[in-house]
Symmetry: C2
């Protein structure tokens, strides 16, 4: 196995495929990157062992540009992190990779010679990148937006594995993505062409890694089978396990009727809330909003350090006087995910979940559970 490759393209592909690799793995082969060179180009495979694997092929040519030359086919495993660090730091526009024997690979240019211990390609575990099952095509812009709008709301701890996933539910030409950690919920609806009904739970982390792998593709294609989902980009396949089990029924959680409506400028509301939460020490990040049609105040109180009151300049409030307390971090994350200049916050009452939405886009809803006002 031997090849001379464009350094920049090689480094980018290495970064993309090695970003998920864990420096320590139960299966020792998985600290390596798998490289297979044939007439299609150089295929790189990296895996974190259980959740996600990425396979990217660097073609020999990109249009007229020769990317890989002096090709002698073959395959090998080498330490992913060290190879990536070498590729990104080596001087010059090209580097040459050459397998010396069954256990030694050489990476070199005019000034540098690295010899890396290597492993036979057969030692790598079989990873299923087969494009089977239900096919769903999503424009990458919609996919990126959706992941950014919902995946942060999933649980980050493993205490309830099902909640670390984002539920993808497809029916009637609509894909509904839902994430919740128990205290908040984000739901996004997307129109897509569907020929089958499905409900799968994709680890939130896998979705974020997918987003990072997108370069300039127009679309991403999902192939959903029983235990895995494949994401297909131009030169990249990402395989993620699905989280088993039934996702909690969230259909009736989002209220339809509200009694109070507060429209605010996102930026003013965020900065006022952040300042107020500086004084929220004992009950971390809990702030209180007191609203009537004349005045909206955000406040917090701490026995230990003191109190803060902020009043808003720009707002529109409809309803009776209302006082409600919540974790400002949750509301802050929800508002930021909307990426909207103005947001609408709709309440039922002081102890009922409330929604944070963008007036001009009803496809995304953020729901937050308040906390008891003291």
């Amino acid at each position: 196995m031997k090849f001379t490759i464009n350094k920049e393209i090689f480094t980018k592909a290495l970064l993309n495929t090695t970003k998920i690799i864990q420096p320590k793995s139960i299966n020792a082969a998985l600290v390596n990157i798998k490289m297979v060179l044939d007439a299609n180009g150089l295929n790189l495979t990296g895996s974190n062992g259980g959740d996600i694997s990425i396979s990217q092929t660097i073609p020999l040519y990109s249009g007229d540009q020769e990317i890989i030359r002096d090709v002698r086919p073959g395959g090998v495993l080498v330490n992913a992190q060290i190879l990536t660090n070498i590729a990104r730091s080596i001087d010059g526009a090209e580097l040459t990779f050459e397998l010396m024997d069954d256990s030694l690979a050489k990476i070199a240019n005019e000034k540098s010679v690295f010899k890396l211990n290597s492993i036979r390609v057969e030692e790598y575990p079989e990873i299923d990148f087969s494009k089977s099952g239900t096919r769903v095509e999503i424009p990458t812009k919609d996919f990126i937006d959706s992941v950014n709008e919902v995946s942060f709301a999933a649980l980050t701890k493993e205490s309830r594995p099902i909640l670390t996933a984002v539920n993808f539910c497809g029916s009637n030409g609509c894909l509904t993505m839902t994430a919740t950690d128990g205290a908040r919920l984000a739901e996004k609806k997307l129109s897509v062409v569907l020929d089958q009904v499905f409900s799968i739970n994709i680890p939130s982390k896998s979705l974020m890694e997918c987003v990072k792998s997108i370069t300039n593709e127009q679309k991403i294609v999902l192939y959903i089978s029983e235990k895995k989902v494949i994401f297909e980009l131009k030169d990249t396949l990402i395989s993620s396990r699905l989280v088993a089990g039934e996702y909690p029924n969230t259909k009736n959680i989002i209220p339809k009727q509200f009694n109070y409506f507060l429209e605010v400028n996102a930026n003013e509301f965020l900065t006022a809330m952040n300042r107020t939460s500086l004084l929220s020490v004992e009950r971390e990040n809990v702030v209180k909003v007191t609203m009537n049609s004349q005045r909206v105040e955000i406040s917090s109180k701490s026995q230990q350090v003191g109190s803060a009151v902020e009043s808003l300049n720009v707002f529109k409030f409809t309803g009776e006087r209302l006082e409600i307390s919540f974790n400002s971090e949750l509301v802050s994350a929800a508002i930021k995910a909307l990426k909207s200049e103005d947001v609408l916050i709709s309440f039922i009452g002081e102890m009922k979940p409330f929604t944070v939405t963008n007036k001009n886009d009803s496809n995304i809803i953020q729901l937050i559970t308040p906390v008891r006002t003291y």
Copy 2:
């Protein structure tokens, strides 16, 4: 006590005086900032309890610009971190601070009202900022350069307290600053006006904090007494404890005669060394340099991952063939501290300390102990 103050100037002074304050302190009063307002302006004092204390005075006027207005003199202690966070995040160009009673302070502008629990100013420990003892004046540029050139070489662990300090030794119109952690040593000489001989040990961290406090001053004045040193800037006084005990005698450590001389381009040498050390896994960061007049190679070897060899394009070597191994991190830090395009490395032999210097500036010397070549 009451005042209305320019927010930006107040925030900068708060950041300068609170940067050393520890969030937890044995003396509970020291998590606070001390503020005293009188006809001279607003004096802020922060302290980390033992090593260093900073006192800065914001004048009422800066030239024609009114900085503080509506002044009602007084003093108070408030939580340093919270006050700083409020000042930096509050909207508008000014804020008003007002002491409500013995235990409550109000910080406000049109939109925000913060009430902070406060403590009587008398609760703050006495800190000695008296300008007594030997006076030494240093241009700030020289002071900053010197601190950057030597202080990194001090010990960071507390295992030998004396080595956490930089030794300032003054005699015959020359100030010699020395720092060593046992494996490397940095020595800088500076011509200054001196009327007394002294040798003091200033904690390396205090010096770095001093450098951060410098704004646009032309000079810094040191007042050296038995147990402390005062650094005087325009509106700021910094008091640092001295480390007791005698500094190791380093006078005869720096060799005068060398047998091998290697001149290199700093940048090429650094990048080649960094790449080589990627493969230095078992003996962390150890690399070997092999030199003769035709060729200079930097190499490393690891049983576990492999080997690396880099050759230099630009160099000048004088002497017989030499092979020497060292910790590349130490040499890297030494080269960076010199801030020179080319550096001269002078060797006696493979197991003797070697120097890294700037050919055009003999006032700064970096000395490094090699390790055994394997």
